[in-house]
């Protein structure tokens, strides 16, 4: 008998993928039927014997490195794909914020897309009609309601899409922040929506790389590694254990040898060198240079977006360097070195990690994404004077500043 208080019960879930045979041709299939040639049956387990229960009204975080099985778990819970083994019981209607904008058609107007998207997300026409004004007000696109969405800016598009999703009233909400790379406004809205849902006593499953957000929003956290639960328990304990594991990884494993990465791998970060071109150690107020060597089968130049994220020891994001911030693209091929330069480092002394992200033209086409790819330590502070140490103990960053009395 299932417990009435449980919202999600995951029992011994496993998911096997067969690599290389998803798009088999008829010929290969026939050949294997007659035993001539075996279809390459290289398999791997994206999830392997995962068990946990989420109580109704509980917020649970799911963390883990890229490729740990987080997305597969979400896909199974939202019924997009079936598990190879095991059983999931869900009590209550489920909505997931990984489906924002699904089914939007560029030729249709904002109004039409609200109806279309709403019904794809499972709302009835009557429900959409009832919430229509609210959705429009929330999105702030009143004036463009009858304009085809292909003429919308990407910000408007996301706002409208999110407005529809935010007006679903699920008992279980699944949020995959990992999929919403880079859009700060969207991430903020996701977190806000999650807060609302949690405080109204509904269940939230939150997948994120943002450890601070998980710590804040979720009472318990599941840490997935290689398709298995490595640890489950109170968020602070799990996150601390995860971060210390990540630290070991970033310090001791060469980026090129890491397997926990995402992307098509046409280029991969092999070596990362972090240096101070003006001195021997890294320090506040001095320049910082990060060199990333890329190798892969991309012998021709590829036009890419590159992003580098800096996190502190607690997993908090402290800053981002990105070609996207200046709306630029870079051309890069195998054997090239991507160099980032910070003219004057404003980080306070402490330990930091960098995530390196490379995508082909759009952020959706990920080439290589390695989290905690490298670690560095900012030593003494010389941002303002020789004796900054006295003041920085609680600060995250230094600011250039002036003052005057008049």
């Amino acid at each position: 008998m299932s417990d009435v208080a449980s919202a999600i019960q995951v029992e011994n879930i496993s998911k096997m993928y067969t690599l290389g045979s998803t798009h088999i041709t008829l010929r290969e299939s026939l050949a294997s039927l007659f035993g001539r040639k075996k279809v390459d049956d290289h398999t791997f387990w994206a999830l392997n014997g995962v068990n946990f229960t989420v109580m109704a009204g509980e917020s649970i975080g799911i963390i883990g490195k890229n490729g740990a099985g987080k997305s597969t778990l979400l896909k199974i819970l939202s019924r997009i794909t079936l598990p190879t083994e095991g059983r999931v019981t869900i009590n209550g209607a489920v909505a997931s914020l990984l489906e924002v904008g699904t089914g939007f058609h560029p030729e249709l107007t904002g109004r039409e897309n609200i109806y279309l998207n709403g019904s794809i997300l499972g709302m009835t026409r009557a429900e959409i009609q009832e919430k229509f004004d609210e959705i429009v007000a929330f999105s702030g696109i009143e004036r463009f309601l009858d304009t085809p969405v292909k003429r919308y800016s990407s910000g408007m598009y996301v706002r409208l899409a999110f407005a529809v999703a935010a007006h679903l009233e699920p008992e279980v909400l699944i949020v995959d922040e990992v999929l919403s790379v880079g859009d700060a406004e969207f991430q903020k809205k996701c977190l806000g929506k999650m807060g609302d849902v949690t405080s109204s006593g509904r269940t939230v499953l939150f997948v994120s790389h943002n450890m601070e957000a998980v710590r804040k929003m979720c009472s318990r956290t599941v840490w997935l590694e290689n398709g298995k639960i490595k640890m489950i328990g109170p968020s602070s304990e799990v996150i601390d254990a995860y971060l210390s594991d990540v630290k070991d990884n970033a310090e001791n494993v060469r980026p090129g040898a890491r397997k926990d990465r995402e992307g098509n791998g046409r280029l991969r970060a092999q070596e990362i060198r972090i240096s101070n071109p003006e001195g021997t150690h890294l320090q506040s107020g001095s320049p910082l240079k990060i060199d990333i060597d890329y190798e892969g089968d991309a012998k021709e130049k590829m036009t890419c977006i590159a992003t580098l994220g800096i996190h502190d020891e607690h997993g908090r994001r402290v800053g981002t360097l990105s070609t996207k911030l200046t709306r630029a693209l870079i051309d890069i091929s195998s054997g090239d070195t991507l160099t980032w330069e910070i003219p004057r480092l404003s980080l306070t002394p402490g330990k930091y990690f960098i995530n390196v992200f490379l995508a082909h033209r759009t952020e959706a086409d990920v080439v290589d994404w390695l989290q905690q790819a490298a670690a560095f330590e900012v030593m003494s502070a010389r941002f303002h004077t020789e004796s900054d140490e006295v003041y920085y103990h609680k600060d995250l960053v230094f600011f250039d500043h002036n003052f005057r009395v008049s």
């Binding site: 088999i24 041709t25 997009i80 079936l82 869900i90 209607a93 019904s119 794809i120 997300l121 499972g122």
Partner: protein, 275 residues
């Protein structure tokens, strides 16, 4: 939200007829979207819907009516073949669009759950616009050539139903096969092209019965549309009742339907893994 509580296991069938009814609004929304995109957005869209069947009718008339001098009894060839084109247009539209539907809806299929079969099913609706336009052309031609509407027309809905079932069966089967084996994408345009000739659109099906050995005639009638097109003409123009051989078309249609549903059901839970 349609699904309140559920259990997910490996061998769960992802669509049930009970669930399909819960998603009927999505079915109509998808059909409405296709309609909007195809016709309501551009003037050319609507014009194109007239040009396409008109050209087909004209060319069939020139090739079969004039060059080959196909005899169609008291009914002028152009009227005879337009009636065939009316049934064929619907079938080819629905088969093509349903067949490609799941591949074209990849983004949706990868992100959200709903019964996948809704996607090909929803294509059955918009095909009626094309059929309606051809029916309009047929009506005009019947007036011009003074061909009276047959009293058999009360049976027309039966044949329309048959063409929906036939088109969806083939469409659903192709949509599932295309997901699994990409090669089938190339089969669809080929099937449409051949289909126009191996279906008795512009000539009587008796040709197949009288001029082919029996086994070949049976093979000919295994095309579900062979019997259905004859049925349309009987119902609208009052030509001879479809030959008994047409039962092969019915049998073949039902077999394709069963195979399509079984195969679709088999790959249903894995669609997101394949696309």
């Amino acid at each position: 939200m349609p699904s309140k509580s559920y259990v997910i296991t490996k061998d769960q069938s992802l669509f049930s007829f009970k669930e399909l009814t819960a998603y009927k609004e999505l079915f109509w929304m998808l059909a409405w979207r296709d309609f909007k995109i195809r016709y309501a957005q551009t003037f050319v869209g609507l014009l194109w819907a007239f040009i396409q069947p008109s050209m087909t009718i004209l060319i069939l008339y020139v090739v079969f009516g004039r060059f080959a001098n196909v005899q169609t009894g008291i009914i002028p060839h152009i009227v005879y073949s337009t009636c065939g084109v009316m049934a064929w247009t619907y079938f080819s539209y629905v088969m093509t669009n349903a067949g490609n539907s799941i591949i074209s809806a990849q983004a949706m299929v990868k992100k959200i759950y709903f019964p996948r079969i809704i996607i090909p099913l929803s294509k059955a609706v918009v095909g009626f616009i094309d059929m309606g336009i051809t029916a309009l052309i047929l009506a005009v031609l019947m007036i011009v050539f003074e061909v009276p509407l047959s009293g058999n027309v009360v049976y027309l809905p039966l044949f329309v139903l048959a063409s929906i079932v036939a088109a969806l069966s083939v469409g659903i089967l192709l949509s599932a096969l295309t997901i699994r084996y990409r090669d089938f994408q190339y089969v669809i345009p080929f099937a449409v092209q051949l289909g126009l000739y191996i279906t008795p659109t512009a000539y009587p099906a008796e040709f197949a019965i009288n001029r082919l050995p029996e086994w070949a005639a049976i093979l000919y009638f295994l095309n579900p549309m062979a019997g259905i097109v004859e049925g349309y003409r009987w119902a609208i123009l009052g030509t001879e009742l479809p030959h008994l051989m047409s039962l092969w078309s019915v049998a073949s249609m039902l077999i394709i339907l069963v195979v399509a549903l079984f195969y679709f059901k088999r790959i249903d839970g894995k669609i997101a893994d394949y696309v």
